[in-house]
Symmetry: C2
Subunit: 147 residues, 2 copies
DNA sequence: ATACCATTTGCAATTTAGTGTCAACCAGAC
DNA sequence: GTCTGGTTGACACTAAATTGCAAATGGTAT
């Protein structure tokens, strides 16, 4: 992510925090910055590792809690992955995912032609749909080479 | 799931096991039966609880391993959910999901009109797409009533 | 600038989820 | 019935995430 885009997201965080009446701590800024720097769906512990380069004494608990808070504030997203650890995504704009069923890696897909899916009225009667994303599963190029 | 449908799935398991040269153990039958009985995406431990009504001494390790095996045989699916625990789905046919961002519950969506999505060629150049599913996120009827 | 207070943080302990090892066992084939 | 390789159960272990509580801190009012 470019530096100016990153600054914009930090400003957005400041705005959202003020709106929600929650303090903007150095930890929150640092965690968001780390997540936006790592661009491919890191786990909480991967974020922790990077944040510690700036704040060596930050606690693992704090990173977990801050990530939860940022999700609750709508600034980042939690994504659901193969593998046990939760992962986080700094991109809140609509996008889709390629998921390799062999190695578990995930790639982003920007595909405007998929952004106009209509939720079926029948099944979603009492459900208020806010967003959607398409998960494509299959084999990545690396895993196709292996048997 | 109806009894006859369940019997059909157990027969399918027998067939798949024979084809793969793997023995069909009582544990495998019982785990599949339990998963098909629980119809809404149980965790491994929820499956364990139900299986123990039939086989009280079955080991937790075994249930975890059997679920992995059934996924590898293509008889069931592992799904990726909000929350830390992996969940399993007895439905292998293509279907989609409603995910409540507030309570984390998941519902199945059968929507044939969504089954004809074309994977974007650009992004998936080196990726071999086998299947896809659409995840709709939002608020369920219960959570809409709360603030 | 200072003081205040609710929120947040750090630490330690705990719970929950999943994995590794290995002897005993069993389903299926002969 | 006997054989054999895959499977099971028990236990210990690692990893991931959560909780309770005292201390520290950000934001606001003074």
């Amino acid at each position: 992510m470019q530096p100016d885009e990153l600054a914009k997201r930090i400003q957005e965080l400041a705005l959202v925090c003020r709106k929600a009446g929650r303090p903007l701590t150095v930890q929150r800024r640092a965690v968001l910055e780390a997540l936006l720097t790592l661009d491919n769906h890191p786990t909480a512990d991967e974020v922790l590792e990077l944040v510690r380069q700036r704040i060596p004494n930050i606690s693992r608990t704090t990173v977990y809690r801050v990530l939860d808070t940022l999700v609750a504030l709508g600034v980042i997203r939690r994504i659901h992955h193969p593998g046990s650890a939760a992962r986080f995504d700094g991109k809140v704009a609509r996008h889709h995912h390629l998921i390799c069923t062999s190695c578990g890696k995930v790639w982003d897909v920007d595909a405007p032609e998929l952004d106009c899916i209509t939720p079926p009225g029948e099944a979603t009667r009492d459900f208020e749909v806010h967003d959607f994303s398409v998960h494509f599963s299959g084999l990545c190029s690396e895993c196709r080479k292996r048997p």
